[in-house]
Symmetry: C2
Subunit: 290 residues, 2 copies
């Protein structure tokens, strides 16, 4: 958020504290441990802690009150956009949020072994690789690297990609998208990604890798996506099913309709939700505004 040049130890502490403030782990209004405590906790000197706090103060994330302590300023825990596990962005549009895309790179390349393997490409077969950044209301939140087999990639243009979702293009081209398999992990931002997403190098990222197949089992898309966790997260509802002794969670499959009730449950859980005879677990309707 601020790119002031800064010592590195201090910056690390800054990043960690910032994390905890933004995701709500440090409650708004609460007091941080004293500078000396923090220094001890991280094994650094007070001066260093101080530098980290300085930056947080510049960011407006904390209030420092001499004699009293340092406090987390209210109203700063940004609620990330919440995506359903299926990770469809369409509801964002439905919510009136404006997403846009910046195409950073578009080329036909020899894919790496793992991509080629995942898509089931023949040795030597090329793939179209695109790198895109998606923004919501002007703020970048995801970095997408997609690989599509060359024969499929040629059915749309670079300009198409800059304006339409890839899956839409594929389906427009007559490709039948059937199944997908994805996994979610976490990584650190490297220089390029950090730059594209407006982050510091070393910031945490949500990572999603998805492979999409057509009904014949032919791979049609390999997606590697990196998300800013402060602006994007995955959400899912589960129900407990199965006989006693073999109980398990199953995802709740929602109707195909748009569901306007999008919000971060964390801060307000079903409190409102669970007011009673079990009305919805949807509370403040705090849509992901801003």
């Amino acid at each position: 958020m601020v790119d002031a040049v800064e010592p590195l130890k201090a910056r690390r502490i800054y990043l960690l504290l910032r994390e905890r403030i933004l995701n709500g782990a440090l409650e708004p209004g609460s007091r941080l441990p004293g500078e000396l405590s923090i220094a001890a906790e991280y094994g650094v000197s007070r001066v260093t802690v101080r530098r980290a706090l300085d930056t947080l103060a510049i960011d407006g994330l904390i209030d420092r009150r001499p004699g009293s302590g340092t406090f987390v300023r209210e109203g700063n825990s940004v609620q990330p956009i919440v995506a359903d596990l299926s990770n469809v962005l369409s509801h964002l549009v439905e919510m009136g949020r404006r997403t846009s895309v910046r195409l950073l790179s578009f080329a036909y390349v020899n894919p790496s072994e793992s991509v080629a393997g995942a898509l089931g490409l023949e040795p030597g077969e090329r793939a179209q690789r695109s790198i895109r950044v998606r923004l919501i209301d002007g703020a970048p939140f995801s970095y997408l690297v997609t690989h599509v087999p060359e024969r499929i990639g040629v059915t749309y243009s670079e300009a198409d990609l800059a304006s339409m979702p890839l899956l839409g293009l594929l389906e427009r081209s007559g490709i039948v998208v059937d199944e997908a398999s994805q996994s979610i992990g976490a990584t650190l931002a490297g220089p390029d990604v950090a730059d594209a997403l407006g982050l510091e190098i070393g910031s945490p990222l949500l990572s999603l890798t998805r492979v999409v197949w057509d009904p014949s089992g032919q791979g049609v898309e390999h997606l590697h996506a990196l998300y800013r966790p402060d602006r994007y997260s995955f959400h899912m509802d589960l129900v407990r099913t199965g006989a006693v002794g073999a109980r398990r969670w199953n995802p709740v499959v929602k109707p195909t309709t748009a569901r306007p009730e999008l919000q971060k449950y964390k801060a307000k859980g079903p409190k409102s939700l669970k007011p009673k005879p079990r009305p919805v677990r949807v509370s403040t309707q705090r849509r992901t505004s801003t």
Copy 2:
């Protein structure tokens, strides 16, 4: 992995490169860019890059061949344990993997506002907080902070918690677990978590927050889990459903049975899912051994 004291810029580069090697972004056997290129990329001097590479070499992650280059050593991309979106650990047991638990903390506390809100506690109502670390084959992979309303927490003992999954305890106590809502994000490891999971401060972590309710809508458990992404990740299979124009992904709900085919899909996709005339997209079938 190695706790050699090290310069900070160098360490940051070390961590980033290590990330990319472990998660397979840098393919095993492939050559890294030259030291000068890396230095340019990260905006540091060659000496610094060199230090990072030194540490990677000590870790055994790379092979340096004078005159030739630096190569990613084979067999090092550890495949994380793959958990289904429902995040059940039972299949790990079915696979013969041994998980164990270390109970780090067990106490009744005044929960933070966000936890209290999520569980729907009355103001002032206390909660049982436990912090556990879960290990697989002796290696820690998750850090779990759970909050349970006091009245429910008292139905089991500290020793119970150290030996049985919390959900099991709850259901044993007659609590009916009905629904849950969870979201997945990413964060950085702070000192305590880093220590418990055997990581460096500042390592990336998968974060999962889940709230579980009973049928009456009463919150029974609040879980905040942090996972080492190199040892644990989430996985899900999706099917494309819905009419043209309103297509979306739906999760594949698997049968209640154990599914032994656990592996990182990345290298081989839904093989079982789409068995067909499609030669393997499965390469090495490297299951999560090790």
